[in-house]
Symmetry: C2
Subunit: 195 residues, 2 copies
Amino acid sequence: MARKTGSHAEITGPRIRAEASRLFARHGFAAVSMRQIAAAVGVQAGALYLYTPDKEALLFDLLKGHMDELLAAWAQEPRGTDPLAALERFVRFHIRFNLERAEAVFLSYMELRNLSEPNFAVIEGLRKRYETELEEILKAGQAAGAVSVPDTKLATMAIIAMLTGVNTWYREGGRLSRATVETIYWDMVRKAVGA
Amino acid sequence: MARKTGSHAEITGPRIRAEASRLFARHGFAAVSMRQIAAAVGVQAGALYLYTPDKEALLFDLLKGHMDELLAAWAQEPRGTDPLAALERFVRFHIRFNLERAEAVFLSYMELRNLSEPNFAVIEGLRKRYETELEEILKAGQAAGAVSVPDTKLATMAIIAMLTGVNTWYREGGRLSRATVETIYWDMVRKAVGA
DNA sequence: GTCTATAGTCGGATAGAC
DNA sequence: GTCTATCCGACTATAGAC
């Protein structure tokens, strides 16, 4: 028989993050109570405070973890010298990674304003670093004559918004596979940057 | 001397909507209390219920009002038979209108999940109608051979996401004027659709 | 590590005086 | 139309038993 109480530190921590992520994404940070999270995990509300100092720190952990994983995953993508190939890798990577982590992407985007100023600045810094990765690719492409955009900064923001937008409409098992979506978006991005 | 109490129905209603919009956009619907809204307007919390049956209806009014105004404003834009000219009008209209109503755009986008199912369906229907306006332009362009996209539905979603993204970074008095931003985005959209 | 119990605050919404 | 007062429930976070 499973006992009702005892030590489960190694599984409770991750489960708290998983349930909090799910609930925050579905109902919004402010609309979710610590009691709801605890109930979803199967512990009492008080037990959550063994794993997080407060509710905001829990949100920050989720957002910070997501951004770290995003940057780490991009860093592991193969490099290359061809700017156009790099751009294609970025487009496909961004769509693929964001669809795989739809919940975390949604959170990192909707719940930023619930962070305190210092925590907000951390996440913004990581986001900016990711954007810079794309801008460097565009600048290199521009320098090499492989791409032609009116403004690399605006092109960066335009491309990221366009790609992230996939998450708002894509549904698994729908009309198009992920690979097809990647290819169609790459086609539009390639043309948009005049390549 | 201004009296402290009395009848101000004609100005209080709009002021409640204005302050609620501002507060919801800044802190999120769930994080804002009726007392906060009342304090911003300068009345007591109970007085709000003369203007709205409950908090959600207040949010719905804001979102519905915004979508109605968006569709009405687009309906007033000049028509024409040239699909490419129509596309340019859409691009410039969308950026201009959304920058003028940044607060309402942000709300209509972030707070959808706080609506009840029937109210949610109303807003989604209006949003869909707006998207269809763009898709019809792309289809007409495709038929006329003026544009060439792999998929008009995806191109619609990609363009709208890209254009709406301007709101996330544009700051008044920044490096670029609104007109310049419109022109740069139109250049990227035009290329993206193979025109 | 998790529980129960609780402190202390704040929430949405309503009743009734003016 | 607005106010004051209030009901009643829910919230975050903590204390202390086990």
